[in-house]
Symmetry: C2
Subunit: 180 residues, 2 copies
């Protein structure tokens, strides 16, 4: 399920031209923004085709990924609320995803004995083996998606994107979307 994105981004000269009509338009920033949105959509288009080939969707995949037994000290959620928090969505959304995954036998929900409001969520053996089946391909694919970039470029990209994320987060929390 993709979002609308421009097939061809405007050339830089077009942006400069448009900035005469719209003085608030900053060409380099606008271009970077559009490239960010387009690249992510294109990458997700490829990933979603891969998911579809394995009869899984993005949302379900992420939930299962979060529930997957992992080595090391990475946080692993066990309740719907934790899943919702880690995935930055509402609990209602998680309920829907878990309903669907449980129906298909990938996850199991059991009431928590220590707090009866809570459910404890885990992957079933079927869910575990499903993930172990598709993850090699998944990782290979995303390595190929980044394959045009050198190791150094990948690191640079991550660094720059972290800066963008932080700025977006501060604009979200600062609430100041428009100084008017």
């Amino acid at each position: 399920m993709q979002r609308l994105v421009l097939k061809e981004l405007p050339r830089y000269e077009c942006l400069v031209e448009a900035s005469k009509q719209f003085p608030d338009l900053e060409p380099a920033a606008c271009e970077a923004f559009m490239h960010l949105i387009r690249a992510s959509e294109e990458v997700m288009r490829v990933m979603n085709a891969h998911f579809a080939a394995h009869n899984i969707t993005q949302g379900r995949f992420l939930v299962m990924m979060l529930l997957l037994e992992k080595t090391g000290d990475c946080p692993r959620p066990t309740t719907p609320a934790e899943l919702a928090d880690l995935a930055s969505v509402s609990r209602a959304t998680v309920t829907g995803l878990l309903d669907s995954l449980e129906r298909d036998g990938f996850v199991r929900r059991v009431p928590d004995p220590t707090d009866r409001r809570q459910m404890s969520v885990s992957l079933t053996p079927k869910g575990q083996s499903f993930m172990h089946d598709i993850l090699p391909d998944h990782f290979r694919l995303l390595t190929r998606l980044m394959g045009n970039l050198s190791d150094n470029e990948q690191k640079t990209l991550s660094r720059l994107l972290t800066k963008v994320s932080m700025q977006a987060a501060s604009l979200s929390n600062g609430g100041g979307t428009t100084p008017a």
Copy 2:
């Protein structure tokens, strides 16, 4: 309308650890991928809040943006099929968006006199002035979103993301999602 994304990305050391369990996992590529998805979602979260404050949604905004009178020689679509092509979605999707925009008085559809299969689509004066009202804020916001980056970093980001897009496009067309 946002998609699930990890709130906190795994630390690089976690990825290295996981690559022992999953040998196909390449830590730098994986990290760059996750940063790409997260940054774009965070940025779009901010943009969507801005759209919501103006009672417009992303899809409708893009359609209106495509229809907007622009200086210079930027392509401007006039039929639903052209809109669909430029936005990389199906014509059925465009029909839905146009229905909604027409209902609200932002666009007008008239049958094309030269080919009676076609409709000609344009912004109404209401649509034009709506866009002229919100675009200054819109451009200011995306400039701020990229504000953490120097001009040079913005250019670098665009360049790297172009590389990613091209790779994604070639994987899409090549059809070789998994060499297996």
